[in-house]
Amino acid sequence: MSVKEITGTSGSEPAPGFRESAVFTLTAVLLGLVIELFSSGKGIDFPGWPFNLIFLIFFITLIFAVGLLFRSRPFVAWLGGIPLGLSLIVGLALLSLVGGVVPQEPMPPESLAAVFRLNGMFSSWPFALVTLLFLFNLGLSLVWRTIPFRLANLQFMLFHGGFWIALACGLAGATQLQRLAVPIYEGRESNKAYDRKNEQLIALPFSIYLKDFQIEQYVHQFSLYDPQRDRLVETKSKLLPEVRKGVKAEWPGVGSVSVLDYLPHALPGADGVPVAVEGDDGVPFARVRIESGGKVGERWISSGGPKVKPRFVQLGDYFIVMLEGQPKAFRSEVTLIADDGERKTATLEVNKPVDFKGWKLYQASYDEKAGRWSTLSLVEAVRDPWLPAVYVGFFMIMAGNALFFWKGIKKMEEA
């Protein structure tokens, strides 16, 4: 740092520069709010390609110019100093706090939150201004620590430089980020993608053919449903009982249920008694023995399916129901066909996106009402040209972090 720190350790009065910094930050926030007020909370529209890159280059040049040419001016030293950095961190934290409490969703335009865009905090003017100043301040301190280069400053450079790059490139690249929803039905092919943010239909440079959509589920469970309070009653053992032959579940004061027989794929026969069937049509049925208040009975229950009604059993004021197992995995077997003729077969699964032609394809969702009978797969196509820059920032932060950890441990040993 070019200014001598003169804060003592006794410091009952605020350190020099802190009051000015607080006023400065507050002014930026107020200015942002005023802009929102006069533009009826429309928020900031960051320029798209290539103006985002031009803006970024201009901003970096400005930081270097100011940092190197006017380094000895007290004002510039203050602009790149910790007191201002701290006030801006506090400002950022407080704005994030508002954004973390007020739901970030559309609200009536005349509501107070919408007028000042508190419901869209992270694309609002106050947030943008504070972030811009934050980057300026951080940038100056970086320039001073980097030039002249000293190895002792490496950890500082990695930490602060990584954060600068990740934040600046993440924000500048946000206008080029595309997240599109691509619905496809089994046995069909589509290149139509929906941009939900801008409500646009976009043609992808490739189409997706859905060969098969599959869902794996956890075992079905049965449970006691309380219709008056609309909730499931917990068993004595806190287990959600799995429907398997031999399982017994007890609900204190209500009764118990044991599974005598379990058919994972069955359909009701002519007399209503379920019979096991082959193929995908069958639904699970369980024959259960119910004991309640000294009475014993045997019944069939089922979670049902698209063509079969669910069966449940009344038990006093409650119902014994069979619940669908929760989805364990769902995946789409697809063929990707590019406009230039290139083909690729792939399996899309949650947490396993697939790259194709500069896009990343994700298994997003399916027709949840149809559950495991869904023939619709919802794929998300994402393009984010700035991602590598952001990741460089992330890895720099992690490297600086590792150094920091090592240094911290060493100092701790000495302490």
Binding site: E5, T9, I82, L92, V102, P103, K238, N351
Partner: protein, 265 residues
């Protein structure tokens, strides 16, 4: 091992810690009592480790999905920090706070047992799941210890019995906590990219993680400014409340209704 066995298990752990703590008094003068006391203290923690391991096996998935499950880890980690601090720095009082905090979490879990639920939604089935959550939990445990120690130092200062060793301990706990918080945040971002298509969406949980990270970032820069360490003890004590909001307070905020992280409730 199922939640049914949990209350007796928790009670046994707390009993070990209480007996071990009581024996710390004669332990000051007798090596045998000292060995006996530490055997009990460590047994309490080993009981919890054993419960966690068998719970993991019974669930057939990492027990890191619900708040109750994370509290269990937390209750296991935090006394360990107290023990390590005593071993390294010969500061004896921190472990009592740690065991006390841990007992509170065990108590909450015993009163509000989780449903025993094997299912793990597809988004959570990832190599990132365990590192991301465990790094965060260790960070929270370290920062809780730094907060407790900060408030203890505040008390000492009121009584004019300032301990610089105590202050440097809360500093280093916070420093290590911050490092892990940073790793947790970035692991989370890298995972989110794989699971949800983008690394940062200002989801309420993410927003609060960012706020708590900023709170400790502010602390480190106040230290870099050579702020009076006695004032910073207050800061460390209070900063932990921000973390608590992030950890489970978020679920009660109006903004959390459409959070992708709400499964953690």
């Amino acid at each position: 091992m199922t939640p049914v066995e949990f209350p007796s298990m928790a009670l046994a752990a707390v009993a070990c810690w209480s007996a071990g703590s009581a024996l710390q008094i004669p332990a000051r003068r007798s090596a045998i009592f000292n060995a006996f006391s530490w055997t009990l203290l460590i047994s309490g923690t080993l009981l919890l480790v054993w419960f966690l391991a068998s719970y993991w096996i019974a669930l057939e998935r990492p027990p890191l999905r619900t708040l109750g499950e994370t509290r269990l880890w937390y209750a296991t980690f935090i006394p360990v920090i107290g023990f390590i601090v005593e071993y390294r720095y010969k500061i004896r009082w921190l472990k009592y706070y740690c065991m006390g905090l841990s007992a509170v979490f065990l108590g909450i879990n015993a009163m509000h047992p989780d449903v025993f639920q094997k299912a793990l939604m597809p988004a959570l089935q990832s190599v990132w799941f365990v590192p991301h959550v465990v790094v965060y939990l260790v960070a929270y445990a370290l920062l809780a210890a730094s907060a407790v120690s900060g408030l203890h130092n505040v008390m000492l200062n009121f009584r004019n019995r300032r301990s610089e060793k105590g202050e440097s301990m809360s500093h280093y706990l916070a420093l290590l906590g911050f490092v892990l918080l940073t790793f947790g945040l970035i692991f989370g971002a890298l995972w989110a990219k794989e699971a949800w298509g983008h690394y940062w969406t200002w989801d309420p949980k993410e927003t609060w993680a960012f706020i708590s990270w900023l709170a400790y970032l502010g602390y480190l820069h106040l230290v870099a400014r050579k702020t009076d360490p006695r004032k910073l003890q207050w800061y460390l004590g209070l900063a932990f409340f921000v973390l608590l909001v992030c950890w489970f307070g978020v679920n009660y905020l109006p903004s959390a209704q459409n959070s992708v992280h709400s499964y953690s409730g």
